[in-house]
Every structure is written in structure tokens, then in C-alpha cells.
Amino acid sequence: MGLIDQMRAGDRRALARLVTIVENGGDDGRRALAKLYQYTGQAHIIGVTGPPGAGKSTLVNEIALELRRRDASVGILAVDPTSPFTGGAILGDRIRMQPLGHDRSIFVRSMASRGQLGGIARATGDVVKVLDAAGFNAIIVETIGAGQAEVEIAREAHTTVVVEVPGLGDDVQAIKAGILEIADVFVVNKADREDAQKTQRHLQAMLQLGGVPREQWDVPIVMTVATRGEGVAQAVDAIQSHLQHLKAGGYFGERERQRVEREFRMILQGLALGLVQERVGAAQREAMVAQIQTRRIDPYTAAERMLAEALGVGEAR
């Protein structure tokens, strides 16, 4: 029996190993994905993002416990940044998730962001597929909200929860990260702090400025004190209502279609690049870069020529 069958039979070690294989990518990773893809598409994928220290992990822990009370099994993927200098990482989200430790219906995995942009979304999306194929009802992905990477990861989720906290210079925060566009649910955590009402009002005003709600969904703002579990049931209500709304309104299928198409396109791009690298010598590619740099050719024409050369046809288009 292969790892995927073992995982589907509930073997947590097989699941853990498959996550490693898929995270590492390469041929082994691709083979695994090809085999398990047929089992995906079942889970509710929930993204949780927000600034460092906002209480995301504490909240994810509480959300998972609440989902368990509602009889859902939960897979958690907690992503922390890789150090750009050393390539290493300290993954500390588990510290706040100790209460989840011994429940067999919960699985927590920490992951370093490793490569650059697109790569984070790729690896995260692929690991989510493994958890999905393992049969978890809900999958929560925690990422630090720091801009583009999170926007990309948010597009992998059905429901994106943006966690804000009082007193972080809210005005810039929300606009800067394009956070309004990705939030399906806002959580103002650390509501035990005095400025919490102000943050809530501010977000409210920002949402109203945004005009017509995307997908006819009024983004709710939920106040929580994650350390005491307060407001968590309301947060989970909001998360579950959002999924129901997507499905009832026919938006779910459209989102999935867009996501799948985006993924397909990204993979195609990667393959095309791989093909060029395989079939056109490094010296020739470098020469082309030099020509672009000295303005003797524009990058579009250069790319077309190179692709044509790799494909062995006169012109790529």
C-alpha cells in the first residue's frame, strides 16, 4: 500500500510524510499530487492573515477547538517566513496550539515560506491539497500579513479572515496591504484593549467607502479576545456563513474555476520556461539577456524568439 492509501486510511505518519514530499516538490512531489488530486475539492479552505503578533495562532487554536465542537475535523497549515540570509526558519506558531495536540481529528503542520513569491503560493496550495485529500472538513492556513504573498495565498482560500488589532496605525495598515480586497471576514482581536472600538469603527468606514460588496457579501467585523476564547463562536459563525453564501449565490463554483485556471496557467508558464532552459543553451540565453540590456532587442520579441527556438518552429506566434 502506498502512502496515499495509508493516509486515506487515517495514517497520520503517511500524511506527514506526504506533506514533506509535496512541499519539497520535484518529481516525487508531482507524482504524489497527480495521484491524490482526485480526492481534493472537499474541504472548506480558510485563510487567516494579519500583522505579526496580532494573535493569529492563538485565534486559529480557538477556531479549531470551536470547529471540533461543531464536529468538523481540522487541518492546520501555519506558514512562517524563511530567513532570506540563511535559508533557515524558526516556526513558532505551534506554541499557541498546544491544546490541539492530542486530538486525532486535528493535524497541525508548520511550514517555512522558502522561495520567493509565486513559490509560497505554489507550495502552500499543494500542501493544502494533501490535507484536503486526507479528508479534513476544514483547513486553516495561517500566514503573516505582509503584502503580496498573502494576497496570493488568500486567493487559494474560500474564506479569508483578516486579523487586525487595535493601535497599529490602522489607517495605513488596511489600505497598504490591499487587505480590504481580500477580507471575507474581519476579526479585531485583542478586543480587551482600549482602542478596539475605534479600530472596528475605522474598518466599518473603510468597508463602506469600498462601495458595492464583492459577491454580494457584507464583510462582517467580529471582535475577539483570542486568549480567553471570547467572540470565537461568532467568528466561526461568520466563517461558516461565508461559505454558505458562496455556495447559495453560485459564487463558489466561479471562484474555484478562476483558481484552477490561474493554477493551470502558472504551471504552464513554469513548463514553458523549463522547456526553454532545457532546449536552449545557457550561453545563448545569456547572450539574449545581454542584447535586451543593450536595447538591441526588446524583451517580448526576445521571449518569442527563444520559445520558437525551443519548440523548433519559425515563430512562436
Binding site: A16, G25, G29, R31, T86, I90, G92, H102
Partner: protein, 140 residues
């Protein structure tokens, strides 16, 4: 394809501070490893559960409480029972030479480091000891 050595750093037992564990965690990160840090007051069961979910190659345990002769063998026993005896376990802390010897010989602790050990030494040991085949070729 990117392969990183993954290490779980934890502090079993009830004593209160985790400075040593954090120093090690940072040193391993700086050596390019991915360190899952789970913090204080971990029971052997919690440590092993986390190590299995995280599919780590190494468990690094920092222990100052004096309970090393009960806690450390418990960790390797649980790993063994879970079919995960291939996970390397190293320990650091205030452990006598005699105890260290017993831990290594009888309880499957791969290495024991005293308070004076250099982090380089630990990094080198892990790099040398993690078996490359852990990374490859399982049937999916």
C-alpha cells in the same frame, strides 16, 4: 527541489526558562535548517506527537530540570512505538557524563551536550547524522 533539515526544538519538564532552547533554535536556523519551536513544559507525548506531524528529521531537547533520566528515554520509547525510531534525538543541558553515557548506550539518544558545548558542534553533528535516504523515494 529544495530539501531542508527539519528540527523540532522543545523543552520537556517543568523548569521555567527556555533561553538555552532559543539559542539552539536560532543557531540551527542560521545554519539553514527549519526549526519547529514548541516552547516550554512539553510532555514526551506532546513532543513525539508534534515531531510526527511535522515529519522532522531531528528532535533537540533542552533539559535542566534533572529529570532527564525519565523524560529522555520516554521520548525515544514513544518514537520507537510509533515506528519512528529513525528520528535523531539530541539533548542538551546539565547532564552528568555517566548519565550521558547511559542515555546514549541504552536509550537511543544520539548525542548529549553540556552547557559549554558550541552550537557549531551541534550543527555539524546534525548535518553529519541526518540520513539522506530519509528524503527520498517512498512509494506514494
Amino acid at each position: 527541489m529544495e530539501r531542508k533539515i527539519r528540527v523540532l526544538v522543545a523543552k520537556p519538564g517543568l523548569d521555567g526558562h527556555d533561553r538555552g532552547a532559543k539559542v539552539i533554535a536560532r543557531a540551527l536556523r542560521d545554519a539553514g535548517m527549519e526549526v519547529v519551536y514548541t516552547g516550554l513544559q512539553q510532555t514526551p507525548q506532546m513532543i513525539v506527537d508534534a515531531a510526527l506531524q511535522e515529519d522532522v528529521d531531528v528532535i533537540g531537547l533542552s533539559i535542566l530540570s534533572g529529570a532527564h533520566m525519565t523524560l529522555l528515554p520516554k521520548v525515544t520509547q514513544l518514537l520507537h512505538a510509533a515506528g519512528a525510531a529513525d528520528v535523531l534525538v539530541v539533548a542538551g543541558g546539565i547532564i552528568s557524563d555517566a548519565d550521558a553515557e547511559i542515555l546514549r548506550r541504552e536509550h537511543g539518544i544520539a548525542a548529549v551536550y553540556g552547557p559549554g558545548a558550541s552550537t557549531n558542534e551541534i550543527v555539524d553533528f546534525i548535518r553529519r547524522s541526518v540520513k539522506p535516504e530519509r528524503f527520498s523515494g517512498a512509494e506514494v
